[in-house]
């Protein structure tokens, strides 16, 4: 294993988290039990949504959110190209067609509502608003657009738990018809593999709950509690359950999530202060957006792709781990979905950005180390 001077991400795992998992393991009840219920209740309270249903991953969350929204074969789902592949792949699971749209600009690289409007056809049924890197997409505009065209709005909150959409402090995942979250190991709230669907609609939440466990009318837990052993299967469901140890871990970590996000934001601010005057670096998003972001990643923009690639290589040589996110239309599997205009903004941001190390465990000294290397590299 390479020893990075500053790794891209890092996870703090205090002993109370470990203890929560061990308590669960000692109980001997590992699936769909009291800890999952408690985690879901706490998550609903945290996000400010009536219903939170845990699932096995962010991908599972998107899949079930689209299913619960009634998306099916032949439908079109508008998805920004600058996102993780699951945002588009999940529409394909249902036989629907992802329609790639552009982002606003490299400096505001979330889904562009104007571009969404241009791509609506009679077959469009849903829009997936991705809150990329923890920065809230313009869901107010998208909500109005979706209402006007009777489209379902799905919020892809995989990178954005705890992010706010407005100054009133409303969370991402509360404006769309359904929200999909991820608890993957690199995420702000991580348990390994895991996810969640949020919805204000009781019926849609119930459908997600049903389909995450093979559309069985009763669970192992219900039967353990003495309910009748007979059950029916009333739809084609999946095994998208989260298990109890992960629910226990998530519940324990949720207590510190706001503190962790505050710590991430402090790092983002520290980077921005120091990098604002470095020639050759541009910082996306406004200071106001930074305050509302939950800071999954800290992206910066370089002049062009070649400069970015050189920049990353030199940071790597100095022990600084970075990453970047390819646009979907650059993948072999999605190339043929590129529209004639070539999605210029998504292409540009994918080419130019680089995500610097960011975690809740970083301190200002680590920021200083990274910034020093950045300054040297760009000098």
């Amino acid at each position: 294993m390479s020893e990075w001077r500053v790794p891209l991400t890092d996870i703090a795992m205090p002993e109370q988290d470990v203890r929560a998992v061990l308590d669960c393991l000692e109980s001997g009840w590992l699936t769909m039990g009291p800890r999952t219920q408690a985690f879901e209740l706490a998550l609903a309270g945290y996000v400010g949504t009536p219903h939170a249903v845990t699932v096995s991953s962010g991908t599972a969350a998107l899949h079930l959110a689209l299913l619960a929204a009634g998306i099916g074969a032949g439908d079109e789902v508008i998805v920004p190209s600058f996102t993780f592949v699951a945002s588009a792949a999940t529409a394909r699971y249902l036989g629907a067609e992802p329609v790639l749209c552009d982002v606003r600009s490299p400096l505001d690289f979330n889904i562009d509502p104007d571009d969404v409007a241009r791509r609506i056809t009679p077959r469009t049924r849903a829009v997936v608003a991705v809150h990329f890197c923890g920065y809230a997409a313009d869901v107010a505009d998208l909500r109005a657009l979706c209402d006007e065209h009777e489209l379902v709005l799905i919020e892809d909150c995989a990178q954005a738990i705890g992010a706010r959409i407005d100054d009133a402090g409303r969370h991402v995942g509360t404006v769309g018809d359904l929200g999909a979250f991820s608890f993957f190991s690199k995420k702000q709230l991580c348990v390994g593999e895991g996810g969640m669907v949020t919805s204000a609609d009781e019926q849609r939440a119930a459908r997600v709950r049903l389909l995450r466990s093979h559309a069985l009318t009763s669970s192992t837990w219900d039967r353990h509690l003495g309910h009748d052993p007979a059950y029916d299967v009333i739809d084609v469901g999946f095994n998208y359950r989260l298990d109890e140890p992960r629910a226990a871990l998530g519940l324990s970590r949720l207590q510190r999530l706001d503190d962790d996000i505050t710590a991430r934001r402090a790092i983002a601010r520290a980077y921005r202060e120091r990098l604002a005057t470095v020639p050759g670096i541009e910082l996306p998003f406004s200071d106001e957006a930074v305050e509302r972001s939950s800071h999954f990643a800290f992206p910066v923009l370089l002049a062009d792709r070649a400069t970015r690639d050189r920049f990353r290589a030199e940071l790597k040589d100095s022990g600084i781990q970075t990453t970047w996110y390819p646009a979907l239309h650059s993948f072999t599997e999605y190339r043929q979905l590129t529209p004639p205009d070539g999605l210029p903004q998504a292409t540009e941001v994918a080419d130019r950005h680089c995500a610097l190390p960011l975690s809740s465990t970083m301190d200002e000294a680590a920021v200083e180390t990274v910034v020093e290397v950045v300054r040297t590299v760009l000098a």
């Binding site: 891209l8 962010g58 003495g226």
Partner: protein, 383 residues
């Protein structure tokens, strides 16, 4: 009867983990690396070695393993997959995920509730791409005969090994007879971690496809990038998130060390259960005594000889604090499947489903508890 009412409940299953299992998970959590890392790689190596298979791919569930196994067998829209209906719904649902049609085959008998090769043969059509054999309760389905049949017709044999880790047929591990085997690590299973699964195969192509599809068909993983092996990735197919995470891989690795010992204990208890049950009138105890030695002894399944008494006997046992379950309601009788596939008749499967009861069973079960279950069962059945 008052003494019976206040006795502790005997659950269907009861999982007890060892201190070293907990330590393995704690150590993984403290490492801070939670997904697709060294523990998953080690689990896959150890499990493949344990099975005598070339490849083992850790997955999020057995459902995921079945889905990938069918995809690897080339199952797609318009194809047919022959499956038993006397199994958990995932065996058939995974065929629907591929856009294929599950074609339900009969079991041999209530005394041998495994898929019937003769019935499988009758249901093969030009659209059949795969046959899935379920090793019910941990006892080998006739995968030797099914293998010959599938080879003769050029179709894939998939094994649903959810119940049967480490079980064998003719000395060969179940899961290694076909193109791919799908294992479950669900919480009530012989080797449980909560949610989890695994696909084993001897085929390099099947392994490569499964590895790729379990993580969105990305050409590199987070771990590769962390260790500096690659810089970026391509997406080269339609994939899923079917990954197992590191804490579960660590728990499995730890539990795998004791798997044989636990199964040995399960076999002893199963032999004793079968001796006791042999004296109960009005039941069929599936499989032969001499098959216990090669079984993983997942559950104790019995069939009530008389039809129409399942719910009543189950209720009577529940009143005595004894939990039972039905392994399994027939898939083709579920609402979701009747809508899609009406008019399917599988009389043997249906009778088995209407008369089966699964009794409490776990490795630390005491002889007294076994006696209590069997006595209560005999009383519950008695007119």
């Amino acid at each position: 009867m008052a003494t019976v009412d206040i006795s502790p409940q005997l659950p269907l299953f009861d999982l007890r983990l060892a201190p070293q299992d907990l330590e393995a998970v704690a150590e993984t959590l403290r490492s801070g690396w939670l997904t697709l890392g060294p523990r998953t790689a080690e689990l896959e190596r150890a499990f493949a070695e344990h099975l005598g298979a070339r490849h083992a791919i850790a997955l999020s569930s057995c459902t995921a393993a079945l889905h990938l196994a069918y995809l690897a067998a080339g199952v797609g829209p318009g194809d047919e997959v022959i499956v038993p209906a006397f199994t958990f719904v995932a065996t058939a649902a995974a065929a629907l995920y591929c856009g294929a049609t599950p074609v339900f085959a009969e079991i041999s008998s209530r005394a041998r509730p495994s898929i019937d090769p003769a019935d499988v043969e009758r249901r093969i059509t030009p659209r059949t791409k795969a046959v899935c054999a379920v090793h019910y309760a941990g006892y080998a389905a006739p995968v030797d005969r099914l293998r010959e049949l599938c080879d003769a017709h050029g179709i894939a044999l998939i094994e649903d090994v959810a119940h049967a880790p480490s079980a064998t047929l003719a000395g060969r591990k179940l899961g290694t007879w076909g193109l791919a085997g799908a294992f479950s690590f669900f919480s009530n299973k012989v080797l449980s971690v909560g949610e989890g699964g695994l696909l084993c195969t001897d085929s390099d192509e099947v392994a490569e496809l499964s590895r790729s599809r379990r993580s969105h068909a990305m050409t590199s993983g987070t771990w590769d990038r962390h260790v500096g092996r690659t810089d970026t990735y391509d997406v080269v197919g339609l994939g899923y998130n079917y990954r197992l995470d590191e804490p579960r891989a660590a728990l499995l690795l730890s539990r795998l060390q004791r798997l044989e010992a636990e199964i040995a204990r399960r076999r002893e208890l199963t032999v004793r259960y079968r001796e006791l049950l042999a004296h109960v009138d009005g039941i069929i105890v599936p499989f032969d005594d001499d098959e216990v030695e090669s079984s993983s002894c997942y559950v104790i399944a019995i069939m009530l000889e008389q039809d129409g008494r399942q719910s009543e006997v189950s209720s009577r046992l529940r009143e005595r604090g004894i939990q039972t379950s039905i392994f399994y309601p027939a898939i083709h009788r579920f609402s979701a499947y009747r809508e899609r596939f009406p008019d399917i008749s599988l009389p043997v499967t249906e009778l088995a489903s209407r008369t089966e009861l699964t009794l409490p069973f776990y490795p630390h079960m005491t002889h007294e508890d076994q006696d209590r279950v069997v006595t209560a069962l005999a009383e519950a059945i008695a007119p």
